[in-house]
């Protein structure tokens, strides 16, 4: 029988509070019970009546793996009483009538007092409400009438609001061990949905995630996920994660998953056009493609190109990341392709078409050269770029292809 982990429960409540922030800007975590209070009146126009919001919350929390009971009322304590019944009390005047039949064990009272009340013959809330205040105070102390006043709305009930944290951290213990990478996608999807709910609530986005997979007898497996641009989109994160998991080899079955988003960045949702034609959107598309390819194939697999100011062709180019601006020199008379290394050849097999172009340089880093480049054609009809080297080694080499 698994033990009740109070710390984990409290942590889960904290995360859920952050998640609920997308539905209300006034969230309160009561220290003494397993639940949350959300102020729903101000956003009634956005989310509809509280019944609809309650149903929606129940459904979405169900997808995250929690079973929730929701209820609403004009005061927090009344809402707490209404939740197990699924009641949604609209008017302050209805509180007394609708909550009256509730038995005493639903009330938020300590056991000793409750037992005392039952001994006196009280069974339901309305029995308590019928008594005059002075007698209640005399018999049970001032706390009970205060509680009843707060429930009915006679006395105000201010609460300290919850503030969402700067980072997100969650932890999931798997009910059964998972040994395949694809099997991990399902619990990870849940964690990502929770994260994205929190992000939406706080108007923030993530650009990197740290995931740690815990094993029983083995060191934890860390997974780092980086994106090209901040996002709030669970599907995009899941897509990149799926590709990353393809590359991963699990040393052992996974028993628990930790998900950390160390920095939450400000999020600005851009305008979406219908055909994704604007340059900004094309840039975004390319970034998403790049992060997906890099997640599966490694960071070096995708790059742009840039020119380098050097006369020697083999040094006059380099790969660049997409964020850099490329240096561009346009040399249309050069071949589109270079061979990885100049290949020795015998010039008799080729027909010289044009040339020579003298390239001489590189004395400052020791790779100096003197070459005459020619455009040549071979027997198959391919046009190639060959050079005759005078320095350092004499000979004819093939260097490029005009494909």
């Amino acid at each position: 029988m698994p033990e009740r982990d109070e710390a984990a429960e409290r942590q889960a409540l904290q995360r859920l509070a952050a998640w609920c922030y997308q539905y209300s800007n006034q969230v309160y975590i009561p220290g003494d019970r397993n639940g949350l209070f959300l102020e729903a009146g101000a956003s009634e126009r956005l989310f509809g009546r509280t019944e609809h919001l309650g149903k929606r919350l129940q459904q979405e929390l169900g997808q995250l793996g929690y079973r929730a009971l929701t209820g609403s009322a004009p005061t927090p304590e009344a809402a707490w009483l209404a939740a197990p019944e699924g009641l949604h009390i609209a008017e302050p005047g209805h509180v007394r009538r609708q909550l009256g039949p509730l038995p005493l064990d639903r009330l938020h009272l300590d056991t000793a007092r409750r037992v005392a009340m039952e001994r006196m013959g009280f069974r339901q809330l309305r029995d308590l409400l019928r008594l005059p205040r002075k007698s209640l105070t005399r018999r049970f102390g001032p706390a009970l009438p205060d509680y009843l006043d707060r429930t009915l709305g006679i006395r105000p009930d201010p609460r300290a609001m919850y503030h969402p944290p700067e980072a997100f951290s969650s932890h999931l213990e798997l009910p059964a061990e998972i040994s395949s990478c694809q099997g991990l996608l399902f619990p990870l999807k849940r964690l990502l949905e929770e994260l994205c709910g929190v992000l939406r609530g706080g108007d923030t986005a993530v650009q990197s995630l740290h995931i740690i997979l815990g094993h029983e007898d083995h060191q934890d497996t860390p997974l780092k996920l980086g994106l090209q641009s901040p996002t709030q989109d669970a599907n995009r994160l899941l897509g990149v994660l799926r590709e990353r998991l393809e590359r991963l080899r699990l040393p052992q079955a996974v028993r628990e998953i930790h998900l950390d988003a160390p920095t939450l960045l400000k999020f600005s949702a851009g305008q979406h056009s219908l055909f994704r034609d604007t340059p900004a959107e094309q840039q975004q598309d390319i970034r998403q493609l790049t992060e997906r390819l890099q997640a599966r194939l490694g960071n070096e697999s995708v790059s742009g190109l840039s020119c380098v100011q050097d006369h020697r062709p083999e040094y006059s180019w380099r790969p660049r990341t997409l964020d850099e601006r490329p240096d561009c020199t346009a040399l249309a008379h050069r071949p589109s392709w270079l061979l990885p290394n100049p290949k020795p050849c015998s010039i008799e097999n080729y027909e010289i078409l044009a040339g020579p172009e003298r390239i001489e340089s590189g004395w400052w880093d020791g790779h100096d050269c003197r070459r005459d480049y020619f455009i040549v054609r071979d027997t198959h009809g391919c046009t190639l770029w060959a050079f005759r080297e005078y320095k350092p080694r004499r000979g004819w080499y093939l260097h490029g292809i005009f494909a």
């Binding site: 340059p279 959107e281 094309q282 598309d285 390319i286 998403q288 493609l289 790049t290 997906r292 390819l293 599966r296 194939l297 070096e300 697999s301 995708v302 790059s303 742009g304 190109l305 840039s306 020119c307 006369h311 062709p313 006059s316 180019w317 790969p319 601006r325 490329p326 561009c328 020199t329 346009a330 040399l331 249309a332 008379h333 050069r334 071949p335 589109s336 392709w337 270079l338 061979l339 990885p340 078409l353 044009a354 040339g355 020579p356 172009e357 003298r358 390239i359 001489e360 020619f374 455009i375 054609r377 198959h380 009809g381 391919c382 046009t383 190639l384 490029g400 292809i401 005009f402 494909a403």
Partner: protein, 251 residues
């Protein structure tokens, strides 16, 4: 009757007798002779074009320069997946492929290469993807074609000679051979919308450069496209004949 006419005019795979169908979206190739012969007068958009050569490097990539330059100019991306050689940025820039719209993907070949191709084809809208697959089956080609359709991209696959004998779902299949007067002879093996037309000869274009030397050959004339484009960084005469003085800076 109306519905049949509508089908014929919008579906490139259907055509009546000798008339070519018109239902194809294309982008002009930049070579007038080739455009005239191709159904839709250009490369099919949202479908695969296969370029089959006996020996790689005989001019199949340069054939695409006008279209790729247009694509770059419109701000769309050109993606090269596993090219067999190192792309030389200065030359590509000189022919109009803007470096800030060029992406090179290196996967190490095999299934990963095809997967990367598919991802590149599915992503976004517009642009071109060029790939050099080593082995690709009919069903894999079909998958790539469907991916290209979803994003209206141009997809160019460069394939070896024996691929000409296999069947393929590609919308356009061209076989390139060296032609007379140093041009390229293009056999259209398959196209959508009509019977394969006659082979096309187009002149092979490359620029003239170099100092005066005794083995001068008159070079092939530039096509109409190139003579109108200003090629930065070199002073070339419009017809490309005769020696041209370009001296790299001597240190």
């Amino acid at each position: 009757m109306n519905s049949i006419n509508q089908l014929l005019s919008t579906t490139p795979q259907l055509w009546k007798g000798r008339q070519a169908s018109r239902g194809q979206r294309t982008l002009p190739t930049g070579h007038t002779r080739l455009d005239r012969q191709l159904p839709g007068n250009g490369w099919p958009q949202g479908a695969i074009t296969e370029l089959i050569t006996r020996k790689p490097g005989m001019g199949e990539f340069r054939l695409l320069f006008p279209t790729l330059a247009d694509t770059s100019r419109q701000g769309q991306w050109v993606i090269l997946v596993d090219p067999p050689w190192i792309p030389y940025p200065a030359a590509l820039q000189g022919h109009g492929l803007l470096l800030d719209r060029l992406l090179v993907v290196r996967t190490g070949g095999g299934k990963k290469s095809l997967w990367a191709c598919e991802q590149a084809l599915r992503n976004g809208r517009g642009g071109a993807v060029l790939a050099w697959p080593e082995h690709i089956s009919f069903s894999q080609l079909r998958r790539l074609q469907i991916a290209a359709e979803s994003s209206s991209k141009l997809a160019f696959l460069f394939r070896p000679e024996n691929a000409g004998e296999e069947s393929s779902p590609a919308a356009l299949r061209l076989k390139l051979e060296p032609g007379n007067r140093r041009g390229i002879r293009i056999n259209i093996l398959k196209c959508r919308g009509s019977r394969p037309p006659e082979p096309v000869w187009i002149p092979q274009l490359f620029s003239a450069y170099g100092k005066h030397w005794h083995q001068t050959h008159p070079y092939a004339a530039f096509t109409e496209h190139n003579s109108n484009t200003a090629l930065a960084g070199s002073s070339l005469s419009a017809t490309g004949r005769g020696p041209v003085q370009t001296r790299p800076k001597q240190h």
